[in-house]
Each structure stands twice: as C-alpha cells, then as structure tokens.
C-alpha cells in the first residue's frame, strides 16, 4: 500500500522520523521522477545525475515546503526545472564547442543507447519527438506517456490549461505529420 503524501510530510516535520519520511518519499517517487526526466534527457547517465540532484534539492527544501501545492507537483516541478536547465546547458555547450567535446546530441544518445528496448516504430516516434521544442516535448510526454491531467500539468508547469491543450495538439499534429510522411 502506497503511503500518502500528508503522512510523509508529517513524518518529515519531526526530527526523529525525518529520515524515515525521506525514505518513503524516495520509494514513492523515484521511478516516476526517473522516467519523467529520462524521457526528456534520453541518456540514462544524465538522468541518473539529475534524479540525484532533484532528490537532494527535495531533501534540502522540504522543510520550507508549503502545503499550498501538492507534494507530487512540487517534486515534479523541481525535476522539470532541473531537466530544462540541463537541456539548455547541453545545447549551449554543443553550440559553442568547435570540436566533438561538447557532447552528444539527444538524437545521438537515443540511437547509441544500450538501454532502449523499443521497436522501429517506437524509435521513429522518439526521433520525431526530438524535433519538437523542449517545452512542447515536455507537455507531450506528460500528457501522452505519463497520463497526467491538464490540471496537474498546469500546476507543475505554471501554464494555463488552454495553452497546454494548444501546445499538446500542435505537438500531436507535428508528430503525426512526421510519422505519416516517413517511409
């Protein structure tokens, strides 16, 4: 049985059960956060680093967490911000690098990844997704793969539901166009 967020927060507020609360929080969210980040940054090692950064931020900032938002949206927001910051830095690094030291692109990471078990169609879909702007890809992932509600996505990203719907539909159209025109 999964522990409720309020129980985690309650335990965390007491010094004696703080570590226990954090363990519960990790158990509950580590996979969700991992996959949320992995779909965005593609590479497993980059994801692993980011997941650790996210949970350390959660550990440090949880004492300041206010109950005006849900715990899961707060953690998702941290994970999303970390991922977008990482992607921006990666792009900058790739742009200014005159040689190959800037690192691989996301598409290269996808093709070279030893941890991609999908079929040809799934690979094609992932490649098509990488043609989208990062924020549009983020909305698509959250809606299509993670099955989050627009209300939840809106709370996590701080964007209006209308804008999210528009963004998702544009992303779907682009992806459909790419998929139907390939082959």
């Amino acid at each position: 049985m999964q522990v409720e967020d309020f129980e985690i927060l309650e335990k965390f507020s007491r010094e004696s059960t703080r570590q226990e609360a954090f363990n519960l929080l990790i158990n509950k969210y580590q996979q969700k956060i991992y996959w949320h980040i992995r779909r965005l940054v593609i590479d497993h090692d980059d994801t692993d680093d980011l997941v650790q950064d996210v949970f350390i931020k959660v550990w440090k900032n949880l004492p300041n967490f206010r109950n005006d938002s849900q715990l899961f949206t707060w953690i998702y927001r941290i994970a999303t911000n970390e991922s977008i910051t990482f992607l921006n830095k990666k792009k900058k690094k790739n742009n200014i690098s005159l040689d190959d030291s800037g690192g691989r692109t996301l598409a290269e990471s996808l093709v070279d990844s030893p941890y991609f078990d999908g079929d040809k169609a799934q690979m094609k879909l992932q490649k098509a997704l990488l043609t989208l702007p990062d924020k549009q890809r983020l909305v698509f992932n959250m809606k299509y793969f993670e099955d989050l509600k627009y209300e939840e996505i809106s709370e996590i990203l701080g964007t209006s539901i209308g804008a999210l719907k528009a963004s998702f539909h544009i992303a779907v159209k682009k992806i459909e166009q790419i998929l139907s025109h390939s082959d």
Binding site: F22, W35, H44, F55, Y115, F116, D117, G118
Partner: protein
C-alpha cells in the same frame, strides 16, 4: 465528461501515432532502482552531516588575507600557460614549410664565412685594430687640445688680446698673420675698420 472527450479528440487526428505502442521503450541497467534507492539515502545522509566548527581546522596566519593574491597569481600563471602562440600571432603563408630549408641555407652560409675567416692570418685583425686605435687616439688628442685652447681664448676679452699683442708682438708676427689670415677674417676686419683707421695705424706704427 465533455472535457474528457475533448481531451481525446487528438486521437482522431493522429492515426499513425495511435498505432505505435505506448509501452515504455526505455530501460535501465540491472537493479538500477534498488541501488538508486540506497544512493539517494546515502546522499541525503551526507547532506545532513553537520559541518564542523571552523575552529577545528586551524589555518596558517593571515591565510585569507593572502588568499586573493595567491589566487590572482595562480590565475595569471595559468593564463600564461593557456596562451596559444598559434592563435595570438600569425606567420606568413607557408612560413613553416620553408623554414627548415632557410635554416639549412643559413647554416651553410655561416660555415662558408668561417672558412674565409680561417684563411686570414690571425695577427692581421689585431694589427689593423691597433692601427685604427692609434690614428683615432692621435686625432682625438689634437682635436681636443685645439678645442680647449679655442674655448679658453674665447673667454679672454678682446681689449686684453689687443693689449697683449701691442706689448708682445714682434716683426715675425706680422709675417705669420699675413700667411695665415683667411679671406673671411680679412672681410671681418674690413667691416670693423675704416680705410682712414688702417692708414693711420700704418703711419703711426713703428714696425
């Protein structure tokens, strides 16, 4: 209900997309999440370790006062290391291609000049140098003594010279003056003296 339906409207617009399996195509290394769990707990424990008091780590005297200078020095040194001559300076096209050949030909020339030098007897350069020094020394001696004499003479007032010549001059001096006075000197004298003065001087002088 209406919202839910509208949420699914995109399905009609994306038949190709909907045919693709939504199953997660990504995987993770074996037992990754088990170790991640432990890693995160360890990290959190490390983060919660209390920092020891600064007093527990004594520092050398004036450490922080000297630290900025040390850092600046280190940065300056590292900046020097990072200076790339290739980017800072440029060389003419194909400079390095011809450099080796030019150095070789220079070495050949140097060798030739050494051979020529060896053919000249070794005492000649020394005697030539001694001769030049001797000539230079003589001219320097005479020039410098004339210069000193002229300088001393210019500081003596004209009337004293005239008095001196009137008292000490002899017949031989006139002959010396006639022989050595220049055209410019004559003109200068003729400017200062009128013909009457000269005539009077000749008539009055006993020489």
């Amino acid at each position: 209900m209406k919202t839910k339906n509208s949420d699914q409207d995109w399905l009609k617009e994306a038949p190709t997309l909907t045919k693709i399996s939504k199953k997660n195509p990504f995987s993770v290394p074996y037992a990754y999440f088990e170790s991640l769990n432990d890693d995160l707990k360890t990290l959190a424990t490390l983060e919660s370790l209390p920092l020891k008091n600064e007093e527990d780590y004594p520092l050398p005297l004036h450490y922080f006062k000297q630290l900025p200078d040390k850092i600046n020095d280190r940065a300056a040194i590292e900046a020097t290391w990072n200076l790339s001559p290739e980017t800072a300076f440029q060389v003419p096209d194909n400079y390095f291609d011809s450099l080796k050949e030019r150095i070789k030909s220079r070495i050949e020339k140097e060798k030739e000049s050494v051979v020529i030098k060896k053919r000249i007897p070794s005492w000649i350069p020394y005697s030539a140098a001694a001769s030049i020094l001797f000539v230079l020394g003589l001219s320097l001696y005479f020039n410098s003594s004339g210069y000193v004499f002229n300088k001393q003479l210019s500081s003596v007032p004209d009337y004293e010279i005239i008095n001196y010549l009137q008292i000490h001059s002899t017949v031989n001096d006139n002959q010396y003056l006639i022989e050595n006075i220049t055209e410019d000197g004559l003109q200068q004298v003729s400017i200062d003296l009128s013909a009457e003065d000269i005539e009077q001087y000749i008539n009055s002088t006993s020489l």
